[in-house]
């Protein structure tokens, strides 16, 4: 069965510090990987995704994630965080295990708290 593990439930960090949110997955088939972000009282928004090609993907607001097939990881990083990055971050996978449809399997989420 497929699963996603987010190793940290909460990550506190000071503003302008770097951050890494960890995500590992388990799957017997090829996967597509996603990071979603949820700001308070809002829905899940796609932050970035890996489908194929370059293993390093970037978002428009400075986040990046690298697909590492050998380590089955898709960690999210940002070199310098802002207060506005405070949110819940969800790692998710989809793939042909879902019969060709887009079922997303989510991790438990990591709450990023950026302090001044």
């Amino acid at each position: 069965a497929q699963s996603v593990t987010q190793l940290d439930s909460q990550v506190p960090v000071f503003e302008e510090a770097p951050v890494e949110l960890r995500c590992n997955y388990s799957s017997s088939v090829s996967v597509y990987l996603f990071w979603y972000v949820q700001y308070p009282n809002q829905g899940l928004q796609l932050l970035l995704k890996y489908l194929s090609g370059s293993t390093l993907v970037e978002s428009i607001n400075g986040f990046e994630a690298e697909f590492n097939k050998s380590q089955t990881s898709f960690h999210l990083r940002k070199p310098s965080v802002h207060i506005s990055d405070t949110a819940e971050y969800f790692c998710a996978v989809s793939g042909m295990f879902s019969g060709g449809y887009n079922k997303l399997i989510f991790g438990a989420g990591t709450r990023l708290a950026v302090h001044p």
Partner: protein, 117 residues
């Protein structure tokens, strides 16, 4: 920017009552989904819907659950007889269905918090 909307934002009901959660997907999208998140647990897939029928459902989605697209704009989730364990945040999502199913981006609504007493 188009967005998925959900109503109500919070629903409180008594155990055994029927509830209907409503969603308005993005207008030109073809695939629709429901997910739920029990407090402190993972977001879980419930069901996907395409061309007016269920495409896939999880083991959670038993006979107590049903989905419908009654009027071409709304997408509803009905729980016939709610249980305490149905208390959760329910998210609706939609995707365009244009770029191939497994790579299609899903756009999520803000969620409906269902509390069963």
């Amino acid at each position: 920017e188009p967005e998925v909307t959900q109503t109500p934002s919070h629903q409180v009901t008594q155990m055994g009552q029927e509830v209907i959660l409503r969603c308005v997907p993005i207008s030109n999208h073809l695939y629709f989904y429901w997910y739920r998140q029990i407090l402190g647990q993972k977001v879980e897939f419930l069901v996907s819907f395409y061309n007016n029928e269920i495409s896939e459902k999880s083991e959670i989605f038993d006979d107590q659950f049903s989905v419908e697209r009654p009027d071409g704009s709304n997408f509803t989730l009905k729980i016939r007889s709610t249980k305490l364990e149905d208390s959760a945040m329910y998210f609706c999502a939609s995707s365009a269905g244009l770029a191939g199913r497994v790579t299609d981006t899903q756009y999520f609504g803000p969620g409906t918090r269902l509390t069963v007493l």
